[in-house]
Amino acid sequence: MTEKNIYLPYLMRITQITEESPAVKTFRLEFVDEVAAQNFNFKTGQFGLYSAFGEGESTFCIASSPTRKGYIECTFREVGRVTAALADKEVGDIVGFRGPYGNVFPLEAWKGKNLVFIAGGIALPPLRSVIWNCLDLRDWFKDITVVYGARSVADLVYKHELKEWNERTDINLVTTVDPGGETPDWTGKVGFVPPVVEQLGLSAENTVAIVCGPPIMIKLTLPVLEKLGFAPDQIFTTLENRMKCGLGKCGRCNTGSSYVCKDGPVYTLAQLNELPAEY
């Protein structure tokens, strides 16, 4: 048989584990096979299927930037059978990875523009890949703003990187936690993401907004962006429908005539407006 088995994952060794927040971890993964490592390429926005052998596969974005070579990272919350098995892994253990799959954020098209990233909770990981990618190509873009909210201070992920972004002068980071989620030493904002975005006085001119978060955050943030003058094709998001194959076959992520795994996961609001809201 000369055809390749498209379901075979790469074997990846866990080289670093970061505890991000309660039940949320980041794995740094390196290819066991050196040839695979050298041939591997991805672009920001793409995702993969990560396997815990013995339990199955789960879909997460690639949370690291393609500008950082030699590894990929994924961040996941322990919620089910596969993620629980992954959470049990230790540095040195082997997991599987299939990918990269799906489309990409159009960084080339964003050259010369201001970027506003808006993320909620566990939805920062897909944007973190883009943010680092953009920071590593900093002179391509004008102002970079990140608004990141979580239920509580403990729920913020990538705390060390938030600190780093906060200290950098070439990125404007605004963090917020839901009322009641603050701690005595919290210096960020208190409030939900949509009003925080509204108060920033952002201009939609020559700006793209990249939004990712729980459905309620997205639902309430979009009207704010609209009010600020963002057109639907200036607003990007990344969907994560349930998937099994990632290859445009198993049918799960199909919404309208789109396969999120093939035509997405990156969509503009203009594109989403053409699809039934089954995501």
């Binding site: 055809e3 379901y7 199955g56 253990d93 082997i94 429908n241 099994k244 290859l247 089954e278």
Partner: protein, 335 residues
């Protein structure tokens, strides 16, 4: 134009023997325990005489209910992966109806539109279809409404149409010619029969291109809810469907080894789209029923320039709550 021959009953007997001698199994509709299903046969005499359709489709020949995609052994700190090879048996599908023969094209579209699925392809390559035209239809049939017909050749490598003393045989593809070449003497000159006179007459029930054109504007129509009120979400329609291709990938493992399996699934199941967060994009049975219709009559034409339905009516016959797809499509077309 296909080359047309006559294949007498006696010569069909001979053809079965030749095919088996060539190392192929012959699967054909067989009556057993009150059902008609595909089964291994040695002689045409074993083939059902009265079937309109088998209950299950023939899709499992190329897309088994459960198929191993890979296996592995694990030890602390290491995993050994083993590729899986489909053990595809050389198979002749005899007696499937033209609708089902055509359905393999719809499966092929999904399995190969972008990434190529070697499991499906290995099985498809080793399969040949000797279809048999329908001389009768039932209330569930609607092939003529979806671009097919009781004597349609599409998807068959050889299509047989019953005539006095045997069959009219249209040899349609290279695979068909290869079968003929195994025993060319069995195929005698055709006699210029008009097969349309023999085939079942089935009136077109609805205007499919018009339906496909109006579906995008009907998404919020209450009709989907009405039609699906009695749907119990059992998934039988998807399991018997010759084009339903949606699948799940499951793990079967013990602490030291395991395998990854592809299993049939259905968009009619609530868990099909359920997110880990608990959010479900298709929360109600009516949304899932609507997805079934839209996937076959809107998504398929848009993405693959073909329909995801061949009008075989298997779903209707299998439905435990008597949902009739043809009637529902007529209702949608007239809405």
């Amino acid at each position: 134009m296909a080359d047309t021959f006559k294949l007498t009953h006696e010569n069909l007997d001979g053809l079965f023997a030749v095919l088996r001698k060539d190392g192929r199994r012959v699967l054909a509709p067989v009556d057993a325990d009150g059902r008609t299903e595909l089964n291994d046969v040695e002689k045409p005499g074993q083939v059902s005489k009265s079937y309109i359709q088998t209950i299950m489709s023939a899709k499992d020949v190329v897309f088994p209910k459960v198929e191993r995609l890979l296996s592995y052994t694990t030890e602390p700190g290491s995993v050994e992966l083993h590729d899986a090879e489909p053990h595809a048996l050389p198979t002749v599908l005899f007696g499937v109806r033209p609708c089902e023969a055509k359905a393999f094209g719809a499966l092929d579209a999904v399995f190969n539109w972008d990434y190529r699925d070697k499991f499906f392809n290995a099985r498809l390559e080793k399969m040949a279809v000797i279809g048999v035209s329908c001389t009768k239809a039932d209330d569930a049939c609607f092939c003529t409404s979806v671009g097919g017909g009781p004597a349609d050749t599409k998807g068959s490598d050889i299509l047989l149409t019953p005539i006095d003393g045997g069959y009219l045989a249209e040899v349609l593809t290279d695979k068909g010619k290869a079968i003929q070449a195994l025993a060319p003497q069995l195929f005698t000159p055709g006699n210029g029969v008009d097969k349309a006179m023999i085939a079942a007459k089935l009136e077109q029930a609805f205007d499919q291109p018009a339906l496909t054109a109006k579906l995008p504007g009907m998404f919020e129509n209450k009709l989907w809810e009405g039609q699906s009120l009695r749907c119990i979400g059992c998934g039988a329609c998807a399991y018997v469907c010759p084009t339903c291709v949606c699948f799940d990938i499951q793990e079967e493992a013990d602490p030291k080894q395991g395998q990854r399996l592809r299993c049939w699934d259905s968009c009619g199941f609530s868990m099909f789209t359920l997110h880990a967060s608990g959010h479900n994009p298709r929360e109600t049975q009516s949304a899932r029923w609507r997805q079934r219709i839209y996937h076959k009559f809107s998504t398929y034409p848009e993405r693959y320039q073909m329909l995801g339905c061949v009008g075989c009516g298997k779903c209707t016959r299998a439905c435990p709550v008597d949902m009739n797809l043809r009637e529902h499509l007529v209702e949608a077309a007239n809405a």
